[in-house]
């Protein structure tokens, strides 16, 4: 009982079965820290360390995997992302991530787009 409780509270692991984790095929991609992932998903970091463009993909705001990624991986509420992206869109200060409709589409887009990063459920 105490074992499953502690699992529940461990950052990346949810309810003991599936894990939401960042996903990219970029060779420079390594295990990114939470702070680095926030820079990327909030749209402040727009290139990889070698200078090549970074492309970010996310699921719709209300998708359960998106909500888990925001809370468990980035440590924020999903509406904070939406508010930051809307600010970029409507004040001309950045480009928000591309929204894809499903996890299958997410994987497909990441495989076919150079410099892409998103997240998956394992």
């Amino acid at each position: 009982m105490t074992g499953s409780l502690s699992l529940f509270w461990t950052g990346y692991i949810h309810a003991g079965d599936s894990v939401v984790t960042p996903f990219s095929l970029v060779e420079q991609y390594r295990k990114l820290s939470r702070a680095e992932l926030r820079e990327i998903f909030f749209g402040r970091q727009t290139r990889w360390p070698d200078g090549s463009p970074l492309r970010v993909f996310v699921l719709p705001d209300k998708h359960p995997v998106h909500i888990r990624f925001a809370k468990e991986v980035l440590g924020i509420y999903p509406y904070q992302l939406r508010s930051a992206w809307d600010r970029m869109i409507y004040s001309g200060t950045g480009t928000p991530p591309v929204v894809v409709e499903s996890l299958e589409q997410m994987k497909k887009q990441i495989r076919s787009t150079p410099g892409a990063i998103g997240y998956i459920e394992e």
Binding site: A35, T46, S52, P60, Q80, G92
Partner: protein
């Protein structure tokens, strides 16, 4: 007339819906994308008019339509532009305008800091909401808190964007970040009747020139804005070149500091902003004197996300035209206008409902004491008629975006 505009608005909404069913329009070239929104409002008031002839049946003369294009030329060089159509009764007759069109270059300094410069027509960074206040999706309700954001007064257009440059920076350490933005620009004070408003002389002939506008905003945020403190300042110092026969030229200074705080919890958001506007007018004042006035603006606001697609709003908003005459009594004696012309206290409750993906319906009820922020264009008899102190307003807005 206003029904024709509303029908036009609804037709635009429908044609957008046919164009695209979800999300942004990917332009198929790097990260270039297009976004847009169409919002149609309905306003019903007692006693006074807001956004058109809003008494007896209400007004549909509140339409906001925007289309923007954004994309990176190189990973650190962004280009963005937005066209905006806005109509809001007598207080906004500008119709189409270029809202922003800017180039933005930013670079990293070490692991923790970024610095950038933005040039062109830029949004003025001011307070919690000014940067995106024409988009109902990003504001707390149909109407902004009027004490701080003055939608029905002629200063509005000059507050929103300006032509010049912004220097900005961000420094992060763990969950904490410090942000700063500084604008030097040519204000858009020749638009929307701002010259008449700033001089305080209705239908004045002449224009404003001289020193550029300064706008600054500094902030602290914890966990990407879960807690946020901002301090913003607008500093305007303009020479008025009179073209009105018999009226000498002069100078107008306006200084507007604003403090903002916001706490964002899972279901609740609490926001408050407090500011004072000090204006100094000289040169064109009868008798050659200087008139200095300080007004006060503040609101406190709670938003409650009680279901995934629903949120509720409660807000108290207060504007005082002269902090040395809070109940308006001495100004009323001097001008012959009712006391309540010099303040406005607005209690608002509202609901926000995203009933389908990319569709939003917002409604709210205002109980208002005082008439200080009512538009003289929509209420031409404001200076002669003695209306009541307390009045009601109901607003509804439907919006679609892609």
């Amino acid at each position: 007339m206003c029904y024709r505009k509303a029908v036009q608005g609804i037709l635009i909404v429908l044609s957008f819906t046919w164009m695209t069913n979800c999300g942004a329009l990917e332009l198929g070239l790097g990260d270039w994308q297009a976004h847009g929104f169409v919002s149609q409002g309905y306003t019903l008031t007692s006693n006074y008019h807001v956004f058109g002839q809003s008494r007896n049946g209400g007004s549909l003369d509140f339409t906001e339509v925007g289309v923007n294009v954004l994309g990176h030329i190189t990973p650190n060089l962004l280009m963005a532009a937005q066209g905006l159509y806005r109509s809001a009764g007598g207080s906004d007759n500008e119709d189409f305008r270029l809202d922003f069109a800017n180039l933005d270059y930013h670079t990293s300094i070490g692991d923790r800091a970024i610095a950038g410069i933005r040039m062109g027509r830029v949004k003025n960074p001011f307070g919690l909401y000014n940067d995106t206040r024409d988009v109902v999706w990003t504001r707390p309700g149909v109407m902004m808190p009027q004490s701080v954001y003055f939608d029905s007064l002629a200063l509005r257009q000059a507050m929103i964007s300006s032509d010049g440059g912004v220097l900005y920076g961000r420094y992060a350490f763990g969950d904490h970040a410090l942000t700063t933005e500084f604008v030097v620009s040519e204000p858009l004070d020749d638009q929307g009747g701002a010259t008449a408003f700033l001089t305080g002389i209705p239908n004045v002939q002449g224009h404003l020139e001289g020193r550029p506008l300064f706008v600054g905003r500094m902030g602290y945020e914890w966990r990407e804005g879960r807690f946020k403190l901002l301090f913003s300042v607008v500093d305007l110092d303009r020479d008025f070149e009179s073209k009105t026969p018999g009226l000498p030229s002069g100078n107008i200074k306006a200084f507007y500091p604003l403090a903002s705080a916001q706490l964002n919890l899972e279901d609740w958001s609490f926001s408050a902003e407090y500011g004072q506007v000090t204006t100094v007018r000289s040169g064109f004042i009868p008798g050659g004197g200087t008139i200095e006035n300080t007004s006060e603006s503040f609101y406190v606001q709670a938003q409650y996300r009680f279901m995934p697609d629903w949120s509720a709003l409660l807000r108290y908003d207060s504007f005082t035209a002269n902090i040395d005459d809070r109940d308006g009594e001495s100004t009323a004696r001097l001008t012959g206008l009712p006391k309540h012309s010099f303040y406005a206290r607005d209690l608002t409750i509202g609901l926000h409902w995203e009933f389908l993906q990319n569709w939003l319906l917002v409604s709210e009820y205002h109980s208002v004491w005082g008439t200080a922020w009512l538009s003289p264009a929509d209420n031409p008899d404001l200076g002669t008629r003695t209306g009541p102190e307390r009045w009601d307003m109901f607003s509804l807005m439907l919006s679609y975006r892609f």
